[in-house]
């Protein structure tokens, strides 16, 4: 099948998965966790390289996954102990990244071991990175990886929708209802970590970080209901992926860059024109209420 199809499919699966998780991250004010994970995995790949002696993607993935999970658990743990969520993200990811830089500069300074080279993939190449099982070409690996990540997310959200919802909005109330809030926080963080690492490997960092934040923020402007927010977020992500891909085609530019730019433009449109929280409607409401005040 054509490369356009596989790239758009990969982008759509990735943005749907990130869009769903992003909504919860925004509500919990932890939107930047994607960026944090993209840096925090550095010691993971450094240690994996030192232990295995190769830059094979499997070893790198294992190292990155382990550190991604460690990072989100540490962040969640700091936050549970009363540190602000943005501060706990900042502390953990900078500290882990710094440890990675030290490990590399002590042990492997003459080896090309940066994240761009060994872990972060490039969405333009997904159609050639195929997965062969028993000699049969099963299509691009990233479609399988991101597709199963999306499936797991959908399954968990469908099973525990109410629990996730109340834990995100009102943890105190959730505890009062007997919901194990911490368990759901860790579960969400685990999903975020796995999805991010899988996506980094398939499509690169900037796209994942952007898609975790921007579509969910756009959806947040359009509705006050979580169900709709999830829907809008996925829709915005998918539309950005499609328009972004063809923008890249026309401009002959980076695909990831174009998709994130389109997502940013869509956010801008929602920011101004949103029927609920847009700048325009607020102005209008303000003027109307002033008008009635004067009339009275």
């Amino acid at each position: 099948m054509s490369s356009d199809f596989w790239i758009i499919l990969t982008a759509c699966l990735m943005s749907a998965a990130c869009g769903l998780l992003g909504c919860f991250l925004i509500l919990r004010k932890m939107a930047l966790i994607g960026d944090a994970i993209s840096h925090a995995v550095l010691p993971g790949i450094a240690i994996a390289f030192l232990l295995s002696g190769t830059r094979d993607s499997l070893a790198m993935m294992i190292g990155a996954t382990a550190l991604g999970l460690l990072a989100v658990f540490l962040i969640q743990w700091l936050q549970n102990s009363g540190i602000q969520s943005d501060a706990s993200i900042g502390i953990i990811f900078t500290a882990l990244f710094a440890i990675g830089v030290i490990i590399i500069s002590l042990n492997a300074r003459n080896i090309d071991l940066d994240l761009d080279c060994v872990l972060f993939g490039e969405i333009a190449y997904v159609q050639w990175d195929t997965w062969t099982a028993n000699g049969i070409d099963m299509g691009p690996r990233s479609v399988w990886m991101l597709g199963s990540a999306l499936l797991i997310i959908l399954l968990l959200l469908a099973l525990f929708y109410k629990q996730f919802k109340i834990s995100a909005f009102d943890p105190a109330m959730a505890v009062a209802c007997g919901i194990p809030v911490m368990l759901f926080h860790y579960l969400l963080m685990g999903m975020v970590s796995m999805t991010s690492v899988a996506s980094f490997e398939s499509v690169g960092a900037i796209l994942v970080v952007g898609m975790l934040i921007i579509p969910a923020s756009t959806a947040y402007l359009l509705t006050d209901r979580l169900g709709r927010m999830l829907m809008y977020s996925v829709l915005t992500g998918v539309v950005s992926s499609i328009i972004g891909y063809y923008t890249a085609y026309i401009l002959n530019a980076s695909i990831a860059g174009s998709i994130v730019t389109v997502a940013g433009i869509l956010f801008g449109i929602a920011f101004v024109f949103s029927p609920k929280h847009g700048v325009l409607i607020r102005r209008l409401r303000q003027r109307r209420s002033q008008g009635t005040a004067i009339a009275e």
Binding site: T54, D116, E122, Y246
Partner: protein, 343 residues
């Protein structure tokens, strides 16, 4: 104008929605408009796709009797492929002048260039970073060749610190590039046996030129007095050059342009400059020169004047159409610049 709402607003909305779903939708007309706009946009895009895909290529493909289409990653490889292929091939390079292959970001057009190619040539030895993996996968289903694959491993340099990885900057040793040219020749003959004789002829002409170049560089470097024969650059790309032409090479950064350099590296290099009285250091076309300027300033504060000897082409060649835009021109430029500054 804050876009954040308090949690209680959300909770209220949640409760209201639970009891009275209809009242929560504030302006149905506006929302319906939004829906129809978004649907219109999607339809537009989908119709756009078909027209875009309809517009395909101009020149006849290789199978239809056109030129053999070659896509090469770096400019050096593209140049060699053009020399060997001559009139029977059309070569496109992915990485333009001044591009650092370690940090290369693909653009959408690259997909077409790789998809359409009858033969893909890449450096190998992990020079192309994350692309290497893709190239290896592609090689199972089509003509994809790593031009470094036939070089005797004994001639390859290991990165330092007992690493298992080779230094990928093979083009700095012209004798290794001769081997690369032979690999390209074999790849061209395999992909297009009909013109085998021409390819052999072109390759032997080019290899003769490379052999002359190799001797020329050797004799030029020998003209630098032994004590001052030290090449200091921003990153460790010139290892092969140093080995082949007997000049000591020191780099500030590691092999990768992405590796950080420590403050001790800077001060060590500065002290060495001052102690040995080295005259010049060099900047590279594809690496920012800030770090080298710091070393020069440091040496000056210790009372030793070092100047920038000139710009060397390391990971990429010069602009197309100029002398430095070919492999031979690039090597000659580097050598002349080094000899000029250190003599």
């Amino acid at each position: 104008m804050s876009i954040h709402r308090s949690k209680s607003t959300w909770a209220k909305a949640y409760l209201i929605n639970k009891h009275n779903r209809k009242s929560a939708t504030s302006s149905p007309l506006y929302q319906r408009m939004l829906y129809s706009i978004s649907i219109a946009v999607i339809v537009l895009i989908l119709s756009g796709c078909t027209t875009i895909q309809g517009a395909t290529d101009e020149s006849p493909s290789f199978a239809e009797g056109g030129a053999l289409r070659i896509t090469a990653t770096t400019g050096m490889i593209a140049d060699a492929a053009q020399e060997v292929g001559g009139e029977h091939v059309s070569v496109v390079g992915l990485m333009g002048p001044g591009v650092d292959p370690h940090m290369y970001k693909a653009s959408q057009g690259d997909i077409r260039k790789l998809d359409d190619a009858d033969l893909v040539l890449y450096n190998g030895l992990h020079l192309e970073g994350s692309m290497t993996k893709i190239m290896e996968k592609m090689s199972k289903s089509r003509h994809v060749v790593a031009v470094a694959e036939n070089i005797d491993p004994n001639k390859l340099r290991y990165s330092e610190d007992g690493a298992t990885e080779y230094d990928p900057h093979i083009w700095f040793d012209v004798s290794l590039w001769v081997n690369v040219t032979q690999t390209i020749e074999a790849a061209l003959i395999e992909a297009d046996p009909a013109h085998a004789a021409d390819y052999r002829q072109n390759a032997s002409v080019y290899i003769a030129k490379l052999n002359t170049l190799h001797q020329e560089v050797q004799s030029k470097i020998t003209s630098i007095p032994e004590s001052g024969r030290v090449l200091i650059t921003a990153h460790d790309a010139f290892g092969y050059y140093g080995d082949a032409y007997n000049i000591e090479v020191k780099g500030l950064q590691g092999i990768s342009t992405a590796a950080e350099y420590g403050s001790k590296d800077v001060s060590d290099l500065r002290n060495e400059l001052v102690e040995r009285g080295i005259k010049a250091v060099f900047v590279e076309s594809s690496v920012p020169s800030r770090s080298m300027e710091a070393i020069i300033a440091g040496a000056r504060s210790m009372g030793h004047t070092v100047r920038i000897g000139g710009e060397l082409f390391s990971d990429a060649m010069g602009e197309a159409g100029t002398t430095e835009g070919t492999y031979i021109g690039m090597v000659r430029h580097n050598t002349d610049t080094i000899v000029e500054a250190l003599k």
